[in-house]
């Protein structure tokens, strides 16, 4: 097939799209696994930082609130690419931390991947802070009154009364954040991370078939986000069942294309 003067190589495209043949290249299989676990761990870190950040924003101590405000300002105000470079190259250059490989249970977590998890996770934490905060302030202040009246200190009231309720508000945007995270992992190529996008980049360096290869890899990201969209719909449907019996079911929402539309999601 000819696109302009470019002849599309169907063989290369299919070979690197169809998993059984594509996975013969260990780079691709490995890259896919790294992408998934990097996204999962970075998102987990982001959620933890988000909860801490939201609690910090409510602190009575001005210093803590200031720290959180500075964190949000920097990590939401600068590109993730720049942040990743600063984490990996910057910290090493000033001799603070060089992200050495970690060997754990017979597996190796390369330094770049760790830097990717930290970099994306800390970036994500800034966005999660706002999401958790929105969840917390959506809860009726009477709930905090009741928890306090029982003699609960702030932290226990948060843990047992406020956060369990806020979770329902936090889950839907959290799902969207993870969709975004699956795609953002590709940014780690800037520091030389060996993940899915990098695998195809390396292939392209030897095959010189950018259109076929990058089209093929985009389908892998699409698969990840669509699958996640289905999982997310199920989680939200289950949450909805707990909230109200009349909540639209998973199937109906899938047929309406909501899950898919959300999977294709937004970009930051």
């Amino acid at each position: 097939m000819l696109v302009g003067s470019y002849s599309f190589d169907w063989h290369v495209f299919w070979h690197y799209l169809w998993p059984p043949s594509a996975f013969k290249d260990p780079l691709i299989e490995h890259g896919l696994i790294v992408t998934i676990y990097m996204a999962a761990l970075a998102q987990t870190l982001g959620v933890i930082l988000g909860v801490l950040g939201a609690l910090g924003q409510m602190s009575r101590l001005r210093a803590v609130r200031g720290l959180v405000a500075t964190y949000l300002l920097y990590f939401r105000g600068t590109p993730a690419l720049v942040q990743l470079s600063l984490w990996y190259f910057g910290l090493a250059a000033v001799g603070l931390y060089g992200f050495p490989d970690i060997h754990l249970f017979g597996a190796t977590i390369p330094g770049v991947v760790q830097a990717g998890i930290v970099g994306l996770g800390v970036n994500e934490g800034a966005y999660m802070t706002e999401i958790v905060r929105a969840g917390v302030i959506s809860i009726d202040p009477g709930q905090m009154d009741a928890a306090k009246a029982l003699g609960m200190p702030f932290t226990r009231a948060m843990r047992f009364v406020i956060l369990p309720q806020a979770t329902k508000v936090i889950i839907p945007p959290l799902g969207n954040e993870f969709n975004n995270m699956l795609k953002s992992t590709s940014l780690v190529v800037i520091i030389g991370g060996v993940e899915l996008f990098n695998a195809y980049e390396q292939l392209n360096a030897t095959l010189f078939r950018p259109f076929e290869l990058f089209l093929a890899v985009s389908f892998y990201y699409l698969a990840l986000t669509v699958i996640w969209g289905l999982i997310q719909s199920r989680i939200e449907a289950r949450l909805g069942e707990a909230k109200a019996a009349s909540h639209p079911g998973t199937m109906r929402r899938l047929l309406a294309g909501e899950g898919l539309a959300r999977s294709l999601g937004r970009t930051r």
């Binding site: 009477g142 009741a146 928890a147 003699g151």
Partner: protein, 271 residues
Amino acid sequence: MNAQPGDLLAVVGGPETVSDTVIQLDDVHKSFHDLEVLRGIDLTVRRSECVCVVGPSGSGKTTLIRCINALEAIDRGRIVVNGHPLGTVERNGRVRPAGDRTLARQRQDIGMVFQRFNLFPHMTALENVIAGPIRVRGTSRAQAEQIGRELLIRVGLSDKQRSYPRQLSGGQQQRVAICRALAMRPAVMLFDEPTSALDPEMIGEVLTVIAELQHEGMTMMIVTHEIQFARHTANRVLMMDEGVIVEDAPPAQFFDHPSDERTRRFLSKVL
């Protein structure tokens, strides 16, 4: 309600009051921004007294009762509950505002029931009742559940233990909320308009439980619009107007021979 509530305090082991004066307020002031809501409140509530607070809306009743649980910090004056100064700690002879953990400890002896119930919607009725004993008092789950079940039975909710608040009527929710406060074995119970959010047919079932508590000798302060309830259950009735207590008398005197003009005007409207 299936049965008359009975022996509610026996279930939790009775209140622990250390002194005859359970609540004492001296010259309490509270402002929200420029608006002074409490303008010098002096008040003493003795053990086993049931004090009803009435007055027009905006008179500071709710603020007063929230201050007695330190849900609002006071600007001036002193509140002592069950022998302990509320909202302050004394260290090296200097009085300072109490921190979060100290406040939490001070509130453990004070039960509170809210107008909007404020039950925890993600917990069943029983879980609501045992949340305080387990998370605050450190009671074992088994013991807390036993007490919690017993309390719910005595307020006529034996079949609602596993129900979530949204599955309960307003009257049922408020009875669960009373049990939740009682389970902490408080020295005093504060009620902030406990029946104002209820449909008329449910008011009785909640007032019955409160009257039973009064009968059993629980010290209580109740902000209410239920004038007949105040007349029949209270030991004392307070009238608040514009941030001050204008009348403080036993119900017979309060309703039949009020001394203050504002009380007479208020009563002529509500009776």
